[in-house]
């Protein structure tokens, strides 16, 4: 009954307590706003906890050549110029301050061994200089724990194990959110003047993924249903190195840090094949012979020499994820894969067991415990896994506000920062930079606006919808629908896409939507995972449709989006963004102009040799790619 719901009122409500949500809540509370934080799992256990490689920031602690401008350009090149330039700029400029702030809040990063005792930074794919601050291979844990411990003393009210089912509006602007507590199934109303969505990614839509249970794209669906625009939904990142064996660990991530510490990729012939796959945008920046790559490894990784002093270039295993994933996939497809359809990632023959255990302890542990494989003795078997969503809720680059007044988004669920492909390390920094900005501006919005009205009669309808699985008798269980969705997405909008498969995918999704209407939940509302999955599926189907429609619209290949029927970059799409929104109850796809980097800034960066005009022409589809 509608009078059995709990009710809370806040100035700012943050949905999602990963790195971005926590940072946003801390900022909103510090600005004097009564702040509520809602999360599906227990506090401190969001998917952020799994990030391993590090947090990217141009701190310059190990290479004085680094600067925000280089980081900015690396991000644009990594994103194949599909980024919102202004978000990438703000990110590069503000990341160093956010990292130093984490330290002030108690984060303990690994230190440099040059006697100066600064924050240690490591190499990562697509970053020109060492710039990933890290703690062994558990940087995500460090980040979320630091923010959690800070947040707990920041006056934020936390509601754990609470899932939001719908956002509420007062006319055009946001008015709050409605959901349920997982433990009791009891509904809850959160009234708020501004709402920040920081709900993470969509990995659970794909069969082979590296994501946690809670990554079901909730924020994307909530925003879409509230009338906000989504952008870049076609850009799904498939991380090159996921585990493949045994089946129970398939998809689990192996950090890029393994390659940063000297790990190499080999096919079943023992060849280091990455040398064959260096694309034009990276030519000249990476070693083109094994001898050069090995010399770099010996000098920089093993002996710790400063990179600016060595003449060799980095190994091609350190290129960006889209390039590496495609290379691995091609090798497997052409029959040079392992017995379990993977590729070898070998660090055993490169570093001593002591070094491996010291620099990559949780990798060592993960393989030993889960796969009974000792990575100090044998190579790892890997293959690409669905890992990250570059697309999401379209936001204003300065304020992080979506197209719905009062609704903000930060972190993985927002779009634009990473373009068509995210560089490793840029997510953790994205969380704290844009989490802080979203918190700041959501607080300002709340202060500048009156309390919105919530139409409590609309809650009756929502409660009915939430209860529908219990009303449906004898229908299928939600888990089988989830498994089928994952198969549909893998086939229809996976790593390699083409129009016929995308069209079929849309048909399959429509059939799944019909099946969802009849799904039943058994038992009662108390902590009932089968019921929870049935509700999450509504969100997943919306996100799946958005990805598929956007992928169909973009008739080119760029970053994480590969169209086998439209290879290469196209001039018609290089300066466009695909936007998805609700129109009269159905999903509409439009092309919009992607804001371009101001010419003055572009020319400066070219003068500084940070951007190459020939590469930019190719990425803009104005010149053919020279392979």
């Amino acid at each position: 009954m509608s009078d059995s719901y709990q009710s809370f009122e806040y100035d700012v409500l943050v949905i999602g307590a990963g790195g971005a949500g926590l940072r946003a809540a801390i900022e909103a509370s510090a600005a004097g706003c009564k702040t509520g934080l809602v999360c599906k799992s227990l506090l401190g256990k969001a998917h952020t906890v799994m990030a391993e490689g590090g947090i990217a920031a141009a701190l310059g602690t190990l290479d004085s050549r680094d600067s925000w401008r280089q980081h900015f350009c690396d991000t644009l090149i990594g994103g194949n110029f599909a980024n919102h330039w202004r978000m990438a700029q703000i990110h590069a400029q503000q990341a160093p301050d956010r990292v130093r702030e984490l330290e002030k809040w108690g984060a303990v990063f690994d230190r440099t061994s040059d006697g100066k005792g600064n924050i240690n930074v490591r190499h990562f794919g697509g970053h020109t200089y060492k710039r990933l601050a890290h703690v062994g291979d558990r940087t995500g844990l460090e980040l979320i724990r630091t923010l959690q411990d800070k947040g707990v003393h920041s006056g934020i009210e936390v509601h754990m194990e609470c899932t939001i089912f719908s956002l509420l509006k007062d006319g055009d602007r946001i008015a709050g959110a409605y959901g349920y507590f997982r433990e009791t199934g009891r509904p809850v109303l959160f009234k708020a003047k501004s709402v920040i969505l920081s709900t993470g990614g969509i990995g659970k839509l794909y069969r082979v993924n590296s994501n946690s249970w809670e990554c079901t794209g909730d924020g994307f669906a909530l925003a879409y249903l509230a009338g906000a625009e989504l952008a870049d939904m076609e850009y799904v990142q498939f991380h090159p190195t996921g585990m493949v064996w045994p089946p129970s660990v398939r998809g689990l991530l192996i950090t890029e840090g393994v390659r940063g510490e000297g790990g190499v990729l080999k096919n079943n012939k023992g060849e280091r094949f990455m040398f064959k796959y260096i694309p034009p945008k990276y030519q000249g920046k990476y070693a083109d012979t094994e001898a050069e790559a090995n010399a770099w490894f010996q000098n920089v990784v093993v002996e710790g020499q400063k990179e600016e002093t060595v003449k060799e270039r980095k190994p091609p295993e350190l290129m960006s994820r889209d390039v590496t994933s495609r290379a691995i996939w091609t090798e497997i497809k052409e029959g040079r894969g392992t017995e379990h359809s993977g590729i070898y990632l070998d660090i055993a023959s490169r570093r001593t067991p002591e070094d491996i255990k010291r620099k990559l302890p949780s990798m060592y542990h993960q393989f030993k415990q889960l796969a009974d494989v000792d990575i100090t003795k044998v190579p790892m078997e890997i293959a690409p896994t669905c890992h990250y969503m570059m697309g999401g809720i379209k936001v204003d680059p300065e304020t992080q506000m979506s197209t719905v007044p009062g609704l903000f988004a930060a972190g993985e669920c927002s779009a634009g920062m990473h373009g068509s492909n995210r560089l490793g390390g840029n997510s953790l920094s994205d969380l704290v930079v844009f989490g802080k900005l979203a918190g700041e501006h959501a607080a300002a919005f709340a202060k500048a606006h009156s309390t919105p009205k919530v139409d409590e009669s609309s809650l009756i309808q929502m409660e009915k919808e939430m209860n529908r699985p219990f009303e449906n008798q004898g229908g299928e269980v939600s888990y089988s629908l989830l498994a089928d969705l994952q198969t549909v997405m893998e086939r229809g909008a996976g790593m390699y896409r083409e129009e016929a498969l995308l069209d079929q995918g849309l048909k399959d999704l429509t059939a799944l939507r019909d099946r969802l209407k009849k799904v039943s939940a058994e038992g009662n509302r108390l902590f009932n995972p089968g019921w929870h999955v049935a509700l999450d599926l509504r969100n997943m189907l919306i996100v799946g449709e958005a990805i598929t429609r956007a992928a169909r619209e973009r008739k080119e290949s760029r970053g994480g989006h590969t169209r086998t029927d439209c290879p290469g970059y196209s001039k018609d799409f290089a300066k466009k963004r695909i936007v998805v929104r609700q129109n009269n109850g159905s999903m509409e796809v439009v092309q919009e102009d992607l804001p371009q980097i101001p010419l003055e800034l572009e020319n400066e960066l070219i003068q500084e040799h940070l951007l190459k005009p020939e590469i930019m022409k190719q990425l803009r589809g104005e010149a053919p790619m020279v392979s």
Binding site: S41, L42, G44, K45, H47, V49, M50, R100, E103, K104, W105, G106, V108, D110, R111, S113, K116, G117, N118, N120, V135, G136, R138, L141, E142, R145, D149, V152, H153, E183, S212, W213, E214, P246, P247, S248, V249, L252, L253, S362, H365, Q366, Q369, L370, A371, D372, V477, Y479, S480, A483, A521, E522, G523, N524, L526, F527, N528, P529, G530, W531
Partner: protein, 243 residues
Amino acid sequence: MAKVHLKVYRGNSEGGELRDYDVEVDEGMVVLDAVHRLQATQASDLACRWNCKAGKCGSCSAEVNGKPRLMCMTRLNEFEEGQSITITPMKTFPLMKDLATDVSYNYEVNKKIPPFTPKDGAKWQWEQRDVDRSQEFRKCIECFLCQNTCHVLREHNMQGQFAGPRFFARIASLEMHPIDALDRTGLLKDQLGLGLCNITKCCTEVCPEDIHITDNAIIPLKERVVDKYYDPLRILWNRVFGS
């Protein structure tokens, strides 16, 4: 495909029992995979907390054949073929439903610990060896298995007087931080019950991150409490010269 026999606790704070289930399993599966199969095929409302399935989030803590374990890190091939696998919730925390317990006690204790407070004018440059000790404790994934296992909480129910191993480790990481300015020794002695620990080391045994809680956190903290409050020479000095 093989079959495995599970005995899973079903119930809530009012009562419950172990129920028998036979589940088909594949090579390399862990206990959590078997639980997921069970949910998908026979018991869709089986309450079970999990998130990452990779031993990083600490959500899937339970007791497997009586031992406190993370379900995602317990391989099925650890058990004999034909052996039954009993899965019960963590005993120390109030039961919510089936395998999910109310772990809010831990979050309450955390709020009592004054957070990291840097010394004024401190240097922010440290050697790796200065931070190694602190970093060991920061590996904690808050699985709460140590809290669940410690007899002071598990058998003697001294919640309210005893913070538990996880929080002694947290305080150790703060006290051993190169530039933390606070002294939490008094808090440990008076409100957090450090003295109640009698160094049976069960916490260390169950920690999935292999943190040496007793040897590296609890004993050094006990030594600090003793130094500050129980050293007769110091007490005499303070009496004569003022503390």
